[in-house]
């Protein structure tokens, strides 16, 4: 309850500070969407030249992408901690965070909240709805519940992985390049995993489970394919909890090691 109130307070502050640069807010929203749009344009152009991509139709691939946008938007809103090491460790702001009673990760996340990213989730849902109608699928109440659970699981996976990566800053002075590295690997998860070779498929499913934020949960709603990854879909929340648990564990241990920047 207290954590909810904290969130509201941070949100109020965010709105106040953002309203100074109102035009910029919208430019940011639009440029975010444009970036997502680029990937959609890629898919659309690709399907002008082929009817199927690894056995998946255009509507299905776009549906998967739309699904992916939903957890990705939520994740970007609440886990906007790209520069954690730089800002909190090198500059020593972590000291300030640790003097307060709320959990350190929660504070860091709230301080960096980025609500405009939620527009991506909204667009993602619209994209899904359009594909849903196009494919003539039926909608049942249970689908919505499953959808929410799958999205939460996917957000947990992202959150866990990036929490763990950010926490690396506690252990090493400059873990250069690992975060952007991960950011690029995650692109693999947006497309049908069966187009990759066995090794990459295995890594994406079980080591860095980016397949669980896009293709696997989304396939729950689609017709089963040859390799039938949709059977794994309901594992998404489990994988999410495990990954988030690992992330939190690494974070908490890191905080214990933290000794301050010195100056």
């Amino acid at each position: 309850m207290r954590y909810m109130k904290l969130m509201l307070e941070y949100l109020k502050n965010y709105v106040k500070s953002r309203m100074t640069y109102r035009a910029d807010f919208w430019i940011e929203v639009i440029s975010d969407l444009l970036q997502q749009g680029m990937n959609l344009i890629f898919i659309l152009i690709v399907f002008q030249h082929t009817p199927l991509l690894g056995g998946w139709t255009q509507s299905e691939v776009i549906f998967v992408y739309g699904f992916f946008m939903v957890p990705f938007g939520v994740f970007n809103t609440f886990f906007n901690i790209w520069n954690f090491g730089e800002r909190y460790i090198v500059k020593g702001e972590m000291d300030r965070v640790l003097t307060r009673p709320a959990h350190s990760l929660y504070q860091v996340l709230l301080e960096n909240m980025d609500p405009p990213s939620l527009f991506g989730s909204i667009v993602g849902m619209i994209v899904m709805a359009v594909c849903w109608l196009e494919m003539g699928l039926t909608l049942q109440a249970i689908d919505i519940v499953v959808f929410i659970v799958l999205v939460l699981g996917a957000v947990f996976i992202y959150g866990g992985i990036y929490t763990a990566l950010s926490a690396l800053s506690f252990y090493s002075d400059s873990p250069t390049g690992i975060v952007p590295l991960m950011y690029n690997i995650q692109n693999y998860g947006r497309y049908p995993v069966n187009i990759y070779n066995k090794l990459i498929r295995f890594v994406l499913t079980w080591i860095l489970p980016f397949a669980f934020v896009g293709i696997i949960p989304a396939s729950y709603f689609l017709e089963p394919k040859e390799d039938d990854i949709s059977k794994l879909a309901l594992l998404t929340p489990v994988v999410g909890l495990v990954v988030l648990g690992i992330g939190l564990f690494i974070w908490n241990r890191g905080v214990k090691r933290y000794r301050g920047a010195g100056s």
């Binding site: 940011e28 970036q35 152009i45 690709v46 199927l52 991509l53 692109n187």
Partner: protein, 264 residues
Amino acid sequence: MMSAYLDFIRMRFLMMLAYRVNYYSGIIIYAINIGAYYFLWKAIYGSQETLAGFSIDQMTTYLAISWMARAFYFNNLDRDIANEIRDGSVAIQMIRPYNYLIVKLMQGFGEGLFRFLLFMIPGLAIVCFIFPVDLPTDPVVWLTYLAMLVFSFLINSQLNIMTGLFAFFVENNEGLMRMKRVMVDLFSGVIIPIAFFPGWLSSVMNWLPFQAITYLPSSIFTGRTPLAEAGSVFIIQLTWLVVLLIPIVVMWRAARQRLFVQGG
């Protein structure tokens, strides 16, 4: 005067060299991206021999060379300029006895030289090792491509300088810079060769500078565009180089009239 400008190249090159470790992971990132698109394109081709004039081997080569060219011509001149405008240090630079924009371009050259030698070349070597890339055997193709690459760099830097200068006119051009980056990646043909675009879009692209950055040179490199047509590619690149000077000069003139530093 010239030697002062050359010194900016040297200084930036040495500065980049000090941070070279950051770029080792860059090579891996580019290889990962090339890999993602390599598998995608393989699935797209399926059993089809050629698409939009590219065979699958040419496509792989196109991917490799386009991403590695991006590794070379990419720079953050837009962010540098925008930051200096926002924190006001551009005012100090303006009263110094050199041309601010030329200095920026020289720093870009320094970074480009570094990226070419320590990012693009080793990156290309590694990528060729992993993926079935067909490098051209004709040395003339290589030389032509390298010459085009210089233009790619210049045109991309011009676009960056323009984007950066926008900071004079809007208070925060962060969004604009991001939008530019996405547009350059998509429209220059790094993500998809322009030949794949639907007809109307590729004819729009003919009237924009982006194709001169990646698509046209890479098509020569892969052999999709015969070497005989290299002349017209050079003309397109040269034309854009000249045309883009106009908005830069206009913006720079207007900017000096209305420099407004926030805080500081």
